[in-house]
């Protein structure tokens, strides 16, 4: 297990030092946000190098592990070396403001909530070490194909229930850690799932600035529902999608206009947002819905700040990974039939204009909408949605508007998929609704707690600063 943990944290560390060396900074700059971005990039980029090794018949032998470790160590060391002269400046951080009783209470409540929430995956792991249904039927099964068959992985294209057309960030990440461990540890996908959950939490809190109490309240609200902690236990691909969605959106936050007036900061934020969005597409097909929705947000941001050409940086960030996804979809898995797609274009159009179908889908979704979150968290989704929407309509909620618009576009896209699918609706909606909402839940919480506040001038290099 130690070897698997080393395999997980090597690329994350390399990404951390790489971000600092290349001076790639999120729009909302904080160490916690940068750490979250490093987690996303470390896991995402190492899945791509693993895919390259698989394609070159180098996976999963000892040579792969040594080569992979050397690669990430070398990149991390180079990054650390490049930013060594500036690391001293971090020690000059200004003191944080004193905390009041309410601040401490919010932090204590967060500790209680997170302890309870992260005990859920531990409890569930002890009774279901292989994860939930989709984990062993799809994601961990594909990881086994990569690990056991190497370049013969494509055999799973014949397994229709394994969603053969979905991209493979999650299975490759699991198989990579198994290669490090030298065995198929069930703890490896469980550890990864925990990191996905912790990263989503970190990015929301870091973006809202952990020097402020709202970040701790947001962390509590995000982690509390059973839907969240149950999905951390699931070992499926929905949580990494939600992690990448919220991290990409965090790069595009509009709460600090200075970022967008600084060309270097704006470009690095757009580059990271594009890269993270493309990794969401590399994780699951739903990532494509996010990519399309966030492209509109990026266009709006670029035009609003009079830097239309800066969109090129977002495209440059997304293009390399998207090229791999296109190759994967159009060449490697071209024969895989879409599981959820419409049978024909005519039938899809027919469904779109059928009032009975919309009525049926809304009828199926309504009770799930109310009960989403778990036994003691009913109505959490409507309340948070209403809160985010209400806040976005006020002047102090400006910074959450873009995030909310992307979330709305994604939910409309998912609803559209329900409308045009040829699958049996009752089972489809009942088995996917909770997970699809979970993909946008961290972004929704981010939007709902995005209350505009004056910047703290005393925190230039601490958790909330960095300039």
């Amino acid at each position: 297990m130690i070897a698997a943990a080393v395999g997980l944290f090597l690329p994350i560390g390399a990404a951390w030092w790489g971000l600092r060396a290349l001076r790639l900074r999120p729009a909302t700059d904080s160490r916690l946000t940068t750490a979250a971005v490093a987690c996303c990039l470390g896991i995402g980029l190492s899945s791509l190098t693993t895919f390259l090794a698989v394609s070159l018949h180098l996976f999963p032998g000892r040579a792969f592990v040594i080569g992979d470790a050397v690669l990430w160590l070398a990149l991390g060391t180079a990054g650390w070396w490049a930013c060594r002269p500036t690391s001293q400046a971090a020690a000059d951080a200004a003191p944080r403001p004193a905390l009041g009783l309410s601040d401490w209470l919010a932090r204590a409540a967060f500790a209680v909530v997170v302890t309870a929430s992260f005990s859920v995956p531990v409890i569930e792991y002890l009774s279901a070490p292989h994860g939930q249904w989709d984990a062993w039927a799809i994601w961990n099964q594909k990881a086994r194909f990569f690990y056991r068959a190497g370049d013969g992985w494509a055999a799973w294209l014949a397994i229709f229930w394994a969603q053969p057309g979905h991209p493979v960030l999650v299975p490759l990440s699991v198989a990579r850690l198994w290669a490090y461990a030298g065995e198929e540890l069930t703890l490896a996908p469980a550890l990864l799932s925990g990191v996905y959950g912790a990263t989503a939490l970190a990015v929301v809190m870091g973006t809202l600035n952990v020097a402020r109490t709202r970040a701790w309240v947001a962390g509590s609200v995000l982690a509390a529902p059973f839907a969240f902690s149950h999905l951390v236990a699931a070992q499926t691909a929905d949580l990494p999608v939600s992690m990448l969605v919220v991290t990409s959106l965090a790069m595009l936050r509009q709460d600090d206009p200075r970022v967008w007036r600084n060309p270097q900061r704006a470009r690095s934020a757009l580059l990271l947002a594009g890269l993270l969005a493309s990794l969401a597409v590399w994780t699951k097909n739903e990532g494509a819905v996010f990519l399309a929705a966030s492209a509109l947000l990026v266009a709006w941001i670029a035009l609003r700040h009079g830097h239309g050409r800066d969109m090129v940086w977002w495209v440059a960030g997304a293009a390399p990974v998207l090229a791999v996804v296109v190759w994967f979809k159009l060449v490697l898995t071209a024969g895989a039939s879409p599981v959820y797609g419409p049978s024909t274009t005519a039938s899809a159009l027919g469904y779109l204009v059928l009032p009975d179908r919309h009525e049926r889908i809304i009828g199926l979704m309504w009770p799930l909408f109310q009960s989403w979150g778990g036994p003691w968290a009913r109505w959490s989704l409507p309340v948070v949605m209403g809160g985010a929407l209400g806040l976005a309509l006020t002047p102090v909620g400006r910074s959450g508007r873009g995030v909310l618009a992307v979330v709305a576009a994604m939910l409309i896209g998912y609803y559209g998929a329900y409308v045009v699918t040829s699958m049996e609706l009752t089972q489809l909606v009942n088995t996917t609704y909770e997970r699809l909402v979970m993909q946008v839940w961290p972004a929704l919480v981010l939007a709902a707690l995005s209350v505009g506040e004056p910047a703290i001038p005393a925190l230039p290099r601490s958790v909330g600063g960095g300039d």
Binding site: V120, A128, F145, A155, R214, G374
Partner: protein, 131 residues
């Protein structure tokens, strides 16, 4: 005034979060036991009598083949026996016949096959001679 409203909402949100988090722990403890680890271990025992890769057949349950337990058994066999592809079709050289899947007495779908091995849990591997 606005600050007090925000503080009040924050208190409500945190109290709700604590209640919901403990509800989540309760929900986790109430989850039914997962049979996958056991099923996987059972089907693993068949691996030594199957080819190392390629397609092998899987006999669907003679009735109500779409029931959750029947589907779960098929998927579990696939999960355990990767990198083989376990297809629910008769006619392959090797057939996996899980416990409770064949028709009691005589199942004509197994005509031409002979028994290769059987596990203590009554999962079987059948084979037919190919020209």
């Amino acid at each position: 005034m606005v600050g007090r409203v925000q503080q009040g909402l924050a208190v409500l949100a945190v109290v709700w979060a604590i209640i919901a988090a403990f509800g989540a722990v309760r929900g986790a403890r109430a989850q039914p036991p997962d049979p996958m680890a056991q099923l996987e271990a059972e089907f693993n025992k068949l691996a030594r009598d199957l080819p190392p890769a390629g397609e092998v057949g899987y006999l669907e349950r003679y009735e109500d083949a779409g029931a959750e337990d029947a589907v779960r058994a098929h998927y579990a066999a696939q999960y355990a026996l990767v990198p083989r592809v376990v297809v629910s079709r008769v006619g392959h050289e090797f057939m996996i016949v899980a416990h409770g899947m064949p028709r009691p007495g005589h199942d004509p779908r197994l005509d031409g096959y002979f028994l290769v091995s059987v596990t203590p849990e009554d999962h079987r591997v059948y084979r037919r001679l190919v020209p």
